[in-house]
Every structure is written in structure tokens, then in C-alpha cells.
Symmetry: C2
Subunit: 216 residues, 2 copies
């Protein structure tokens, strides 16, 4: 990824938070010479660095797990908040008009080696951890034990646990941090008043704070 | 992409609308044997089928355009609305408890051949069309002619126009259309009341309508 120094996000806690809040990753693989992607909710275990892991599961009918190989490096793409930035929002536009539009976004690419497990206990743990993460905001969180054991066993039969062992991470935060302060804050204000995307409020907060994942 | 028949979205007008509303694509390429992705706002010209084109631009400093080759097939991933679906929202849970969580999403993969242009007129047209699309919702849309011509010329110098000639398209709408009606509508209601993601309101509308991109 083209990632100029001023857009690089090296704070791994901030990068991890993006994955936590936007967990649907696009797992990109090369299958018989063709690019493929499967969209899978992932949970980060450990640090987002070599040694850390992204865990998830796929349908047993999804051939992607059969291609898991110790040799090939896969990539998981996480897109966080993104929004169009209009030049109209820059106060400097009123003065010199030397402004053009841009598109802000925060994205993470996690590279790693894919491994799989058919072990029922491993699959149950993956499902249990993912569910706990997803239900964390609920007043009465659903848990795997809420379903009949025989039913869960049958469901586990139909999935395969996957794990991406992290080899490297790329993170790009294109959040107007390269603009002068008045234009940067103008962009945040513009997004807050004329949302250009569903994640515009998140992006507005990121622009203001110059970091974070921008929970509104 | 693993895409069971009941999740396939074959209505190209609906698929095109997703790209229009979620235009930030992840352009995936293979560079020196490694998977790479660059995030680029795209505009669809023509039909989303062989012969159609996705147009955009990248910084001249971004090496991705140097790898444009007539031979390699690239992929652009567009992620639309997505949201976690809690089993708590299914009325059938109260009866038999045989339910598990899932994650809904609508995604499009556009495959094609990448070509580029350094021609100033072509670059100006790309920038002009993209800007018109992005500013369409504004009361006083900014246009390229609002900036000094010499400044725009300088900006155009720094970019390269890119074009993806579409070869094939994959679209997966995982929007609870495989659930019985009461559970499907329960999921929509659950998302509307306990948003599990920024695009949850969009997903709720898609679930209700069984199609579309779900503008709330």
C-alpha cells in the first residue's frame, strides 16, 4: 500500500481498536493464480504484531480453508471510517481557492499465515470468544450455552476454525492530519453537518483528535 | 468468494448502487508475488459487466500504476453495509433456542484489467466526474473550475488516471434472506434498536426489503 510517512499509523493500540470496531475483514488469498476474497468477522488475540493472531471461522463448504498452507502469506483488509472531504469545508478556500477534494479513510492490512482446525473444542472456543465480543454491548448477552448442546455440536460440524498468524501489519490513517489546523477542523465540522457517508461522524472525530477510531 | 446461491445478488442495478454509495474500493493487486491493496474511490462508467469500467486516480508516487499490465487480473473489493445479528432478535429463539449468531454484509468484487493514463485531459475528466458524483448531495457543489487553472494543472501533474476494464463481477448479499420471515424481520428490528455497527440502519433496511443498499 502506498503509505506516505504522514499517513502511517504506528500506534498499535489505535490500530487494534479499529479492528475491534470494524471486525469484518476481507481475507484475500491467491487461489489457482486468481485473487479471491472472503469476508469474515475476526477477533484479535494477543498483540497486533508478529506472534499475534486473528481468529475466526468459515463454512466447511467454503473452499478457502483447504488452501491454508504454511507457505503462502494471506492478507486481511479492515476498512474503518471513510468519507469524502469537500474543499468547500476548508476556510482557506475562501482566501486562495487553491484546494481540491480528497477522500479520507483509515485502513489496516494484516498479513499472515493461515492455519485451520477441525477440533470441536477449538471451534467452540472460537465461536464462544467471537460471540462474547459481539454481544459485549448487549444488556442480556446471548451466549453459546443458551442453545441446546446437540444443536451447537451440529452447527460446529458445519464450520472450520481459522487462524491467521500475524507476520506484518500496514495501517494508513488518511485523516486530514496533513492540512493546516483551520482546514482540518473545517473538514471535521463539514462532515459533522453534511455527512457524506455512514461513518462520517466517526471520521469527523478522528480528524478532530488526529487519531483513534472516532467513536461518535 | 464462497457464495451460496441464496446469497448471490445478480441484479446489477442493485450491485451498482452499492458501489455508488460505498465508493471506496480496495484495489487488490499482486506485486512481486505479494498481495497488495490500495484504497481508492471509484466511479462506475457504463454497465457493471464486461465492457464497463471503474475509473479513478492515484498519486503518481503510488507504484501501483506502474504495475498495470494487460495480462494481470486485479480485483476491487467494495464493502457495503454490515452488522452483527444477535440470536436474541429471532422470535423463534424463544421457542426452540436452536439459533446461532451471524454477521450480515453486502459486498461486491469487481475483477478487471488495469490501464492508466498520463494525459492531462483524461485526468481532468476523471477528476471532474468523480467530483461531480461526490458533490451531488451538496447545495453548492464545488467544481474543478472553482480552483485556479494553474493550480489544477499542478495537481493533475501529481496524479495518474486509472481505469479497470471489468471482466467479471461477484456480489454477495448476506442479509438474512435465508431465515423464516419472523426471524428476518426480528433481525431488522433488533438492528434498528441496538445498532451493532455504523451501517446497521442500512442493513436493517436491506433485511426488510430483501434487497437494495438500504439507504435509511
Amino acid at each position: 500500500m502506498y503509505n506516505p510517512k504522514h499517513f502511517e499509523q504506528s500506534d498499535l493500540s489505535v490500530v487494534s481498536a479499529l479492528i475491534e470496531h470494524f471486525p469484518l475483514g476481507a481475507l484475500v488469498t491467491l487461489q489457482s493464480g486468481a485473487l479471491e476474497a472472503n469476508h469474515i468477522p475476526f477477533l484479535l488475540r494477543g498483540d497486533l504484531a508478529a506472534g499475534g493472531k486473528l481468529i475466526g471461522h468459515v463454512a466447511k463448504n467454503n473452499p478457502v480453508w483447504q488452501l491454508a498452507s504454511a507457505d503462502a502469506e494471506c492478507m486481511v483488509i479492515f476498512q474503518g471510517p471513510s468519507a469524502y472531504i469537500s474543499p468547500n469545508w476548508y476556510p482557506s478556500k475562501q482566501i486562495h481557492h487553491e484546494v481540491v477534494p480528497t477522500y479520507n479513510y483509515a485502513v489496516v492490512h494484516v498479513y499472515g499465515k493461515l492455519s485451520i482446525s477441525h477440533d470441536p473444542q477449538t471451534k467452540l472456543e472460537v465461536v464462544d470468544h467471537l460471540t462474547a465480543m459481539m454481544e459485549a454491548g448487549s444488556k442480556a448477552p446471548w451466549g453459546v450455552l443458551d442453545a441446546p448442546a446437540g444443536y451447537i455440536d451440529k452447527m460446529l460440524e458445519a464450520i472450520v476454525a481459522i487462524e491467521l498468524s500475524v507476520t506484518r501489519v500496514q495501517a494508513k490513517w488518511k485523516i486530514s492530519q496533513n492540512r493546516e489546523d483551520r482546514d482540518r477542523l473545517g473538514a471535521a465540522k463539514g462532515l459533522a453537518s453534511e455527512a457524506s457517508s455512514p461513518t462520517a461522524p466517526h471520521m469527523a472525530r478522528m480528524i478532530e483528535a488526529k487519531t483513534g477510531i472516532g467513536q461518535p
